[in-house]
């Protein structure tokens, strides 16, 4: 796990004072994301992969599929597993070794968002009921950390999934060929959802914090947001850090999400689907 980093007191003070005025060091509005960028197909050996950038924050995502025995409670449904790595490639303060609690948390929140929004049509991932189903693995790697890895990872995961193809199934052999079919991973486009995290920093509610801002965040609230006729639909939530959410805080966060939703959703969809 990353060690606790001591933020210089004067730096903390200045950021807070400026946020109080509604301003940020990089000139953005409090509810403004940095520029989003995407590069598709970073690994030809994957079923679908991409690199997503939010400002200088970069995350790689790759989808791999394998044939597994289904779970007893869903004999005709495919399965999903999401993994995230926060290693020293991305940040001086990240350590090598087994997954840290921070990376496990991100993976689990993203997993829940994808699962609960019903983004993937798991029934279409059944090959032989009770015997063979496709397991979808999404592996995420933090490449560079400049804050908000949470949302970058969520966007990268959905983008990789939305562009992934299923391998050819060899019926005779009963296993997957080393070859992709033309069939896409069954995604319900109408259930597309993205992770958006609101941070409370001092008295301000901030979207897409930089690393410096994130380090002094009191709490964060991550939400997997889908589109319900132009209105946000929340599929997963996670509050992080110890700061408590007051009634007033909650109102403000939800208002912020309502106000910014269509704009954000449009931008994120463009990354994920190219449209």
């Amino acid at each position: 796990m990353a060690e606790e980093v001591i933020i210089p007191n004067i730096q903390r003070k200045r950021i807070l004072e400026y946020l109080k005025e509604g301003k940020r060091f990089d000139g953005r509005a409090l509810d403004e994301f940095r520029e989003l960028g995407v590069e598709m197909n970073i690994s030809e050996n994957s079923e679908g992969s991409c690199s997503v950038k939010i400002g200088n924050t970069e995350v790689y995502a790759g989808v791999k599929m394998a044939i597994v025995t289904p779970y007893a409670d869903g004999p005709a449904e495919g399965t999903l597993s999401v993994g995230m790595e926060l290693g020293p490639m991305a940040d001086d303060d990240f350590q090598s070794g087994p997954p840290s609690i921070d990376s496990i948390e991100i993976a689990r929140v993203i997993d829940r968002g994808i699962r609960e929004s019903k983004l993937i049509d798991f029934e279409k991932l059944c090959i032989v009921s009770g015997e063979k189903v496709w397991q979808v693995s999404v592996d995420l790697y933090a490449v560079n950390n400049d804050g908000n890895l949470f949302d970058a990872a969520g966007l990268a995961a959905v983008t990789a999934l939305a562009n992934a193809k299923i391998p050819v199934y060899d019926e005779k052999e009963g296993r997957a060929k080393h070859e992709l079919s033309n069939v896409s991973v069954p995604i319900r486009k109408e259930n597309m959802c993205f992770n958006v995290t609101v941070h409370k920093i001092g008295d301000a509610f901030v979207l897409d914090p930089t690393k410096e801002e994130e380090a002094i965040s009191d709490f964060r609230l991550s939400m997997a947001l889908g589109d319900n006729d132009g209105e946000p639909m929340i599929s997963a939530m996670q509050k992080g850090n110890s700061g408590g959410i007051t009634e007033d805080d909650m109102e403000k966060i939800l208002k912020l999400v309502e106000d910014k939703f269509s704009e954000m959703f449009k931008k994120f969809s463009k990354i994920a689907t190219g449209k």
Partner: protein, 242 residues
């Protein structure tokens, strides 16, 4: 080669000459949060290397009061190959990390940083054989850019033999060539100025004359790679192709 040898491997699968390298891309400065980082791509094999440090070494018992410690971690991303790799360290990745560490340790001078560590992190997002040599090529550029004192550079290449044919820059399809004597894979790293072998491994079957010839071929290939690494370092931020 002196005498004509009949070999089952007559033409390379991708149409290259036997001593021809795959297309190379190299770029220095790919990770903004690090002082030293680089990408090296050979054909479809791509490596990213990042340098962190010199910095405090954890765990403490690994500290060396005489000089800094070089620590190399090598990892293939889960989706870099067709059969998904379980994240985390494997015996293979640990061994490759160690041999890369020995190779790079030959050129870096960490006398000025006792009790500290220079971490080199190598990640492979896409693999098509030769990942350890691509990793070393990227790592050398990253170390140089990070300002780590170094005697010289290192360039690395996987040379090999398909049945009886000697080849440079083996790709995955060749690694799987099964006719005749099958494939032999020889990753080699050569230092740029002293022309020494910094890494050498071999898997397969090889006669001594063949090995001698292969080392010669590797040295020629490494010169070319070194030119590209040098160019990339002289123009950080620009993708150099060759």
């Amino acid at each position: 080669m002196a005498k004509k040898i009949e070999s089952a491997y007559k033409k390379r699968v991708d149409g290259r000459a036997f001593d021809e390298l795959r297309p190379i891309k190299a770029k220095v400065g790919v990770i903004p949060s690090a002082d030293g980082s680089a990408m090296y791509q050979s054909g479809k094999t791509r490596a990213i290397a990042v340098v962190r440090g010199p910095r405090t070494l954890h765990p403490k018992h690994m500290e060396n009061p005489q000089r800094g410690v070089l620590r190399v971690t090598y990892q293939m991303m889960a989706f870099s190959v067709w059969d998904r790799i379980k994240p985390g360290t494997s015996r293979r990745s640990q061994e490759i990390g160690k041999v890369s560490e020995w190779a790079l340790g030959e050129i870096v001078d960490l006398d000025a940083f006792p009790n500290s560590v220079v971490d080199v992190i190598i990640q492979i997002p896409q693999a098509d054989a030769g990942t350890r040599v691509a990793g070393i090529n990227a790592a050398v550029m990253a170390l140089a850019q990070a300002g780590v004192p170094m005697k010289e550079m290192i360039s690395a290449i996987a040379v090999g033999k398909m049945d009886k044919t000697l080849v440079v820059d083996v790709n995955k399809e060749e690694e799987d060539f099964e006719e005749g004597e099958g494939p032999t894979d020889v990753p080699i790293a050569i230092t740029s100025k002293s022309n020494e072998i910094a890494l050498l491994q071999l898997d397969g079957k090889m006669s001594i004359p063949e090995l001698k010839e292969l080392i010669k071929m590797a040295k020629v290939a490494c010169k070319k790679i070194n030119d590209i690494q040098t160019k990339a370092l002289k123009e950080p931020g620009k993708e150099i192709t060759g």
